[in-house]
Amino acid sequence: MSTAMNFGSKSFKPRAPDKGSFPLDHFGECKSFKETFMKCLRENSFDNSSCRMQSKDYLQCRMDHQLMAKEPLEKLGFKNQMDPPPHSQTHTESQSSS
């Protein structure tokens, strides 16, 4: 754990986010998706795993409104929440958890 920036005692090193900063949703375009997600959390004892669909929908909203760089949601960890495409010959089954 020793680094050039170590100040003698343990110090936390913040790191910039991988994809930078979210633009602010000044017009509340995705507020309803946020509310749906928060409601899901409250109803599920704040268990993130129970509300993955809602968090995916929120991020999708951001992408739809240019509030987030568009990329496939599988790359954001939502591969298990994605519907298989209607023509499913291209549906790739990645190795799942045990």
């Binding site: 991020l59 599988e74 958890s97």
Partner: protein
């Protein structure tokens, strides 16, 4: 008052130097990992949220949930909210802290609202998301065996408009060794 906001500039530079700000990939953060990682479903971690504002900034800033339960290897979303109750625009900039210290290296933010200036107009209120995950290696690090709560704290400072925060001119390769999480037992 001016001194307080100027103090945040060297602070920000310090964090920049360590974090490699500017959207460049930081060693140890593999974006492929997010796509391929598998949730460790049996290891539930409580993430709690703090919000602070420096005395220099008049925003109201608070988390929208006091805690959320996550598992390593699964991306998670959480929200803060900020309001500018004054009658003039205020630009803020935030940094964050994670405790316990040793868990911080496993706490990966994919996207959030930190390290860049955020402007709120008079009376404006916005949601501020944090999209993160805890590295699955957290579950196999013996130092983390007893860690079941991680606290994420954000602090907002006021940034004066038009202030440019230059990226220090240093070699990113010098950061590589310091940003890799320790995976050796």
């Amino acid at each position: 008052m001016i001194g307080l906001s100027y103090a945040s500039v060297p602070l920000y530079r310090l964090y920049c130097q360590v974090s490699g700000l500017g959207g460049t990939a930081v060693a140890g953060h593999d974006s492929e990992q997010v796509e391929t990682m598998t949730p460790v479903k049996e290891r539930i971690i409580k993430v709690t949220f703090n919000a602070d504002t420096h005395a220099s900034i008049q925003w109201n800033f608070r988390p929208q949930q006091s805690e959320i339960y996550v598992v390593p290897g699964e991306t998670a979303l959480a929200f803060y909210r900020a309001k500018n109750p004054t009658d003039k625009p205020i630009i803020g900039i935030s940094t964050y802290n994670v405790v316990p210290f040793e868990a911080g290296q496993y706490f990966n933010k994919i996207q959030c609202f930190c390290f860049e200036e955020q402007r709120l107009n008079p009376q404006e209120e916005v949601d501020m998301p944090v999209f993160f995950y805890i590295d699955p290696d957290f579950d196999v690090d013996p130092r983390m065996a007893r860690v079941d709560t991680i606290t994420l704290s954000y602090t907002f400072f006021e940034a004066k408009g038009g202030q440019s925060l230059p990226l220090p001119g240093f070699s990113y390769s010098s950061l590589r060794t310091s940003d890799k999480p320790m995976t050796d037992p």
